[in-house]
Symmetry: none
Subunit: 124 residues, 4 copies
DNA sequence: GTGGTCTAGACCACA
DNA sequence: GTGGTCTAGACCACT
């Protein structure tokens, strides 16, 4: 479920954040669903509980989950938050990605087709 | 030319790598064009020469420039090398970006329009 | 009447304390009025009775209610007790709040206007 | 400089956050000024470095400081950020404070006077 | 049993 | 020397 590469340069907690964020975005983890308990996930991944905690805390800061002390961590329903700033970043990222794809020889048609499949895929 | 944000959390050498990569991708730096000498750039940016060196070495490693000892560093012509692997990565990244945009509330039309402007922009 | 946010990071009993305190301060709950019985409130809010008990005990400790064993919990008339200490705390808190508002860019006029509406509101 | 109450119920890192935030708001710590190094502050306060780290990270999340790995932590110049949400919270807090002051017997005149001195104080 | 806090101590990357 | 990451292990508060 949560695959972690211990040898990666990317910090473990950051990998976890990205993985879980992806599961939430793709609706694999449903709104208000409970995430694995810190200690449980820690023993499953043979990772220190503090590291899991850090990942969960970071996800909370970024608005993807909420934590109830003594209860657990839960998926936050897609918010009505300050998405504007994040969307601007994503737009820039998308432009950069597209630019590099063209640089590496992909035609506009191919890029277009790729995005169309992305959009038709996992429609919710 | 090379704007560096000394306040950024991102390492200086990494910022340099990204900036130069971008200039190469967008054809601002032409193939076989010589990059600024390490010491020159270092004094211009008031940055440690070691940091510039590290950025150039990294760019060479990633296949964007080549180094001729005693001569300098030069833009590598867009190769036909191992682009396949990189393109797969970029495709995944693009899908991830698009997924998150939708999650944050962007409609498919808006995303599509965004990419169209990206593609029509800076056509070479 | 007593709205509790089960998703909040703030402990349930603490939320209850604040809510009830607010109702007392704003004279919604009148002096010597009886508070809902522990079990009644517990079943209404579908919350553990122990949690309600803890909130009532805390309110008693803070001087907002008094308890008559076998009878129930009642609103304590605004005492002339150790208000001095509490008022000093509140003054500090108010100053802190005002300072931060200014730091965040609010003008003195705006702050003043805000307080004037606060004072004219819910005059008793 | 940074006084911490080890016996307080409030977490150490949270106390630190509040203290430093206050110093920044009151312009004691100037924009872009460097904060004490993590290890230095840790040994001064005889607190674990991880705890200081946590406080600094939290301050960064809340937009009061920025961190440059390998360099240090610095005061963030008063931003042009999303202050709206925070200001709404502060307004509510201010109203709550004023309500309680009146409940405890303070007259409107007294409250008004208090705020006037707050505003005239530490004008920058 | 849950999340949250804290300590002690180690190792790494950046400049 | 700086911040950042991670582990091991302890203790506390809430329900």
């Amino acid at each position: 479920m949560f695959e972690i590469d211990l040898r990666s340069r990317e910090p473990i907690y950051e990998q976890l954040v990205e993985k879980i964020k992806e599961l939430i975005i793709n609706n694999v983890l449903k709104p208000d669903e409970q995430l694995p308990a810190v200690r449980v996930l820690a023993s499953e991944l043979t990772i220190n509980p503090n590291t899991i905690q850090k990942a969960y805390r970071e996800l909370e800061h970024r608005g993807y989950i909420y934590s109830i002390p003594g209860k657990g961590n839960f998926v936050k329903p897609a918010g009505l938050e300050n998405n504007a700033a994040r969307l601007i970043d994503l737009s820039k990222e998308l432009k950069r990605t597209v630019s590099e794809m063209r640089y590496l020889g992909m035609t506009d048609q191919e890029i277009f087709a790729l995005i169309q499949t992305s959009l038709s895929q996992d429609r919710r």
